[in-house]
Amino acid sequence: MPVIITPQLNQHSEPVQFDGTVTVAGLSLSSRMTASGPAQLGFTGATCPVYAASSTLSTGTTGAVYLCAMYLPANTTLSSMYFNVTTAGTNTHNLLGIYSTAGALLASCTDLGVISTTGLKQGTLTSQLVIPSSGMYWAAYCSVASVTTVVSGSGMPATLLAGSGVTAANLPFAINGTATTALATTITPSSNTATNALPIWIGVS
């Protein structure tokens, strides 16, 4: 059972800063932090390290809602979501949103509509989202397309997507149903499936 450290004072949510060398499990965590991460590119968080998002992922079945895990600290304020299109295909709707692990759509972006160009796409949340508690959330992406939209993501093998002993409701990468013009206000996480799931790169800020 982890010891929960509340920095300095109880009930404070100030960021914590370490300026010394930090070693975890015998390995220098400080050395890991010397490499640039999502923050250096302006992202508060991302579903996949930027430097691991070197694969092109075809979003397959039109309207499939792809869920990609993102771990965020409490009180983080989010205004935008991002993904990167490498082949635009022929699409009519591109939907982005954030689901809680209970399956509630906490925030969603205005439909990006038709995307006919490649590159980084930004969706604006209709209302800013303040993360209520630290933990896992799903960034959701859905493309309604007659010709598949291809996006950036990790090239990790599909065999690993289901992990070991991970329940459907806890899958970091999953598909949950389909959408047409808007993401469902709720999903049933136990209906998640890792089959055909994709580790899509989705950033937030």
Partner: protein, 206 residues
């Protein structure tokens, strides 16, 4: 909101800690670095690399023992090792998984998988292993095959950088080969015989 400088209560501890606020380290956001899925998200207590960094790599000579570093915390109990077999163009006759410590001693091993198919391969350790002290261990993998080399999940770093800085001892190189084994992993290996490997295999543990 200004960050508070956190002073850990003790310099050395094996207690597990949990941080729920934003964490900045060396001026870089650890929270954003931690925002993507980690091995634990997929049910693995440890792994030789984040699954998100993996792709398909092709094994070298049959039976080659590949050492892949894992940094393990003291007290962790490991009961299973895993590897991901992606394609088997020819045949495979044996798959060996084990853990060597930094002295080159085989501290845990699983029964040989024999001829196996593709997919996530689970290898239960003959005896669960409790990590005695935090630090580097090697997840060892050796696959015997015929005709055409099989492929596995992993990474293929550039040959020029896999050995690290020129002064790095070969005995602590994170990814190396160390001889060949066909039926079982050696009870000990001579770390001075390590050879830097450009094949880094994903091995999971839980």
């Amino acid at each position: 909101m200004p960050a508070q400088v956190y002073v850990p209560p003790v310099n050395e501890t094996t207690a597990a800690f949990q941080f729920d606020s934003s964490v900045v380290m060396s001026g870089n956001s650890l929270s954003s670095e931690q925002s993507s899925a980690q091995p634990a998200s997929l049910g693995f207590a440890a792994a030789t690399m984040n699954p998100l960094y993996t792709s398909s790599i092709t094994t070298g000579a049959t039976g080659t023992v590949y050492l892949n570093s894992m940094m393990l915390p003291a007290g962790m109990v490991i009961s299973n090792l895993y590897m991901v077999s992606l394609t088997i163009p020819g045949t495979v006759t044996q798959g060996l998984l084990g853990i060597y410590n930094a002295a080159g001693t085989l501290v845990a091993s699983a029964a040989g998988l024999g001829a196996f198919t593709t997919g996530l391969k689970q290898a239960p350790l003959t005896t669960p292993y409790t990590v005695p002290s935090s630090g580097m261990y090697w997840g060892a993998l050796a696959v015997s095959w015929a005709t055409t080399a099989p492929t596995f999940a992993g990474a293929a770093p550039g040959a020029g950088i896999i050995g690290g800085v020129p002064t790095l001892s070969i005995t602590v190189t994170p990814f190396a080969t160390n001889g060949t084994q066909a039926s079982s992993l050696a009870a000990s290996i001579t770390l001075a015989s390590n050879v830097d490997s450009t094949l880094a295999f994903w091995i999971g543990a839980n």
